[in-house]
């Protein structure tokens, strides 16, 4: 009886042992499969869905919350890098918004003569700028991981729409990483030749198809470093064309580049024009790429808020983007003297 039992138990033991080994080695397989499904779903469904959202806050918080989970699948052989380019960038928007809030606090504190408060706001501004810069640099690096290494002036194969949008977002992130690192006292150490690389990389995209943004990005770089502009380049004219193409196609990224460039140059006249034009073209927004347009709006609103705060102590009034504190009414004033 005993030997019968032991005879019966032997194959069962083998089965159990085999099962344990299979289960243990299968963890990796299950993880990888899960990762592949997630990445595939993310690229096919989540990315287009997210890009169609106009809620920037939702996009940025999603980026902050989901990026670590998503990127962890890279450890088991999946390839979440393309999605990572997008989620790192949207997560940087969160940090940039907090940096803008600190910048506005700095302005208000100075106006009120509160020196310590202003200094504290500057520290906060630098901290958030450093966080944003690290995230943006990661986005740019992931893009290079996917499509590089490339020879100078070589373009990667960008056959699918997803590749093109990832390439565009990654390159914009590269320039932004450098700018935010500047705000963070260079503590992140973003390589400075990023701008030159981005200027060339932008040529790999179809300008017409992508709302004039690739040329706008190049022209924005020319305004930062005129040394990188090709001979005869007209940065402001190119930026105007880029803005116009953005208005026509419903993604106002070119207009945001125009505004950012004007702000960087301290050209308030151009900055005001850019903000007014941006606000005046808020209809006909692309449904497919509503998130990109909404991020552009956040950037322009941030610049408008800085102008308003510097001049009035308050940010842009609610629904007031495109207006300025010293605007005069376009309506002719009725004389009320005889009514008094």
């Amino acid at each position: 009886m005993r030997s019968l039992l032991s005879k019966m138990a032997r194959p069962a033991r083998t089965l159990i042992a085999g099962g344990v080994i299979a289960a243990l080695s299968g963890c990796g397989m299950i993880y990888k499969t899960t990762g592949d499904v997630l990445v595939s779903f993310g690229q096919a469904e989540l990315a287009p869905h997210l890009l169609a959202y106009e809620d920037v806050r939702m996009g940025c918080v999603m980026g902050e919350a989901q990026t670590p989970l998503l990127m962890a699948f890279g450890e088991v052989g999946s390839h979440p890098e393309k999605l990572g380019v997008m989620t790192y960038t949207t997560s940087a928007v969160c940090a940039e918004q907090l940096a803008v809030e600190a910048d506005l606090r700095y302005m208000r504190a100075l106006e009120a003569g509160q020196v310590s408060e202003a200094q504290d706001a500057r520290i906060e501004y630098k901290r958030w700028s450093a966080v944003a810069s690290k995230r943006l640099l990661k986005s740019y690096d992931l893009m290079n991981e996917v499509y590089g290494p490339l020879e100078p002036n070589e373009c990667p194969k960008l056959n699918h729409e997803l590749d093109q949008i990832v390439w565009m977002i990654g390159n914009i992130a590269g320039v932004q990483a450098l700018v935010t690192d500047g705000a963070a006292e260079g503590s992140v150490g973003v390589p400075r030749d990023i701008v030159g690389q981005v200027e060339r990389n932008a040529k790999c995209l179809d300008n017409e198809k992508w709302w004039g943004a690739p040329q706008g990005l190049r022209a924005a770089v020319w305004t930062i470093l005129p040394q990188l502009a090709p001979e005869g380049a007209q940065p402001w004219q190119t930026l105007e064309q880029s803005a116009e193409m953005g208005f026509e196609s419903g993604v106002r990224l070119g207009s945001a580049f125009y505004a950012i460039s004007a702000y960087g140059k301290g050209d308030n006249e151009r900055l005001r024009t850019a903000i007014r034009d941006f606000a005046a073209n808020d209809e006909n927004i692309s449904q497919e790429y509503a998130m990109i347009d909404a991020i552009a709006e956040v950037l322009v609103l941030g610049l408008s808020d800085r102008l308003w705060t510097e001049n009035t102590g308050k940010r842009t009034p609610f629904n007031g983007l495109g207006t300025f504190w010293d605007d005069t009414s376009s309506e002719p004033q009725t004389n009320i003297d005889d009514l008094l």
Binding site: A183, E185, G196, P226, G264, K265
Partner: protein, 338 residues
């Protein structure tokens, strides 16, 4: 009743004084800041912190970014700006003492540069006198990095081999052209927008540039395949705050100099980052004998240019003392020619 009157007088006086100090705190001044990148650049960023300090010194400073230094300098002269942040080369027209800080080979390392800045911020009466002249006051210095020779051919590593080569020099810095001509080079007047392009597209053999330009302007392109950077500091580029003396008090200028000195390490971080981006393979080390030859050649050039009035004699004298304090074995320390 008398007590009441006295109290009333005291109250009036107190209110008066309080309103005066409030008025002082509300003094508004415009500072035009040259930063090649504009409002997003490193210099402008330091000045945003400066603005918070200035509020504590009783002045509300409005910052205005300029990406064209010439216009910033012109606006300062025209009174459009109450002060400006300019590079030392442009400061020369406002103050010959501070504007000679970029003299060729005068400050060999950052250690000496910091010592010089400490002297400038010391509050010593004779230094303050030098910093306030012709209606302008120099109110602070920041390092912008050492400048080096970027060459297209590694073989150009001795003074003799410089002869016959073309070099891009800043058109508003006549000492650079002068120096280049003295060693037989052909200076090609350039500005900040085109000197890198000329080097990268082979129009010139050599360019004189700060190390911070290496990565941003992709000077490695011009050095490929056989070029390099000669490891010898030809000069220190600086940023300086120039104030219109009638718009700011001496006390403000002194506070400003002290605060700017405190920003030295922060500015150095940006420079170190830029230096770390330079691939080690580009550096060309020159033998000590050649270094001594360079030292001697540049010393002679400084003496000549001081005699011709291009460099300020008093500053050259101070810089020699600083060099000799750091390295008393330098040949010039027994000569006392500067």
């Amino acid at each position: 009743m008398r007590v009441f009157k006295a109290l009333a007088m005291a109250a009036v006086t107190t209110v008066g004084l309080a309103s005066m100090s409030a008025q002082a705190a509300n003094t508004e001044r415009t500072l035009c800041v040259f930063d090649i990148i504009g409002a997003s650049g490193d210099v402008y960023n330091i000045m945003k912190d400066y603005k918070t300090q200035a509020a504590g010194w009783g002045v509300n400073v409005k910052l205005k970014p300029y990406t064209d230094e010439k216009i910033a300098a012109e606006d300062l002269k025209a009174g459009q700006c109450d002060g400006a942040v300019l590079t030392g080369l442009r400061v020369r027209q406002f103050n010959s003492y501070a504007g000679s800080m970029e003299a060729v080979g005068a400050i060999p390392s950052y250690k000496e540069l910091q010592t010089v800045f400490r002297v400038m911020a010391s509050g010593n009466a004779s230094i303050n006198k030098q910093l306030k002249a012709n209606g302008y006051t120099i109110a602070g210095f920041a390092p912008m990095g050492g400048a080096y020779l970027f060459v297209k051919d590694k073989g150009i590593d001795t003074v003799g081999e410089l002869s016959g080569k073309s070099i891009s020099v800043m058109e508003y810095a006549p000492d650079q052209a002068n120096m280049a001509s003295q060693v037989g080079m052909s200076p090609v007047p350039s500005d900040i927008t085109n000197f890198a392009g000329r080097f990268n597209n082979d129009s010139v053999d050599i360019c004189f540039a700060p190390v911070v330009a290496y990565s941003a302007l992709e000077l490695y392109k011009g050095m490929q395949p056989d070029g390099g950077i000669i490891r010898y500091t030809l000069g220190q580029l600086t940023n300086q705050i120039v104030l219109r003396s009638d718009k700011f008090s001496d006390k403000f200028a002194a506070e400003s100099r002290t605060w700017m000195l405190g920003q030295f390490d922060r500015a150095m971080q940006v420079i170190r980052n830029a230096e770390n981006e330079v691939d080690d393979k580009w550096w060309i080390d020159i033998p000590d004998e050649d270094k001594r030859r360079y030292n001697e050649m540049l010393r002679e050039a400084r003496v000549n240019m001081t005699e011709s009035g291009m460099y300020n004699k008093d500053l050259m004298n101070l810089l020699r003392k600083v060099r000799c304090k750091t390295d008393p074995s330098r040949a010039e320390c027994t000569l006392a020619m500067e």
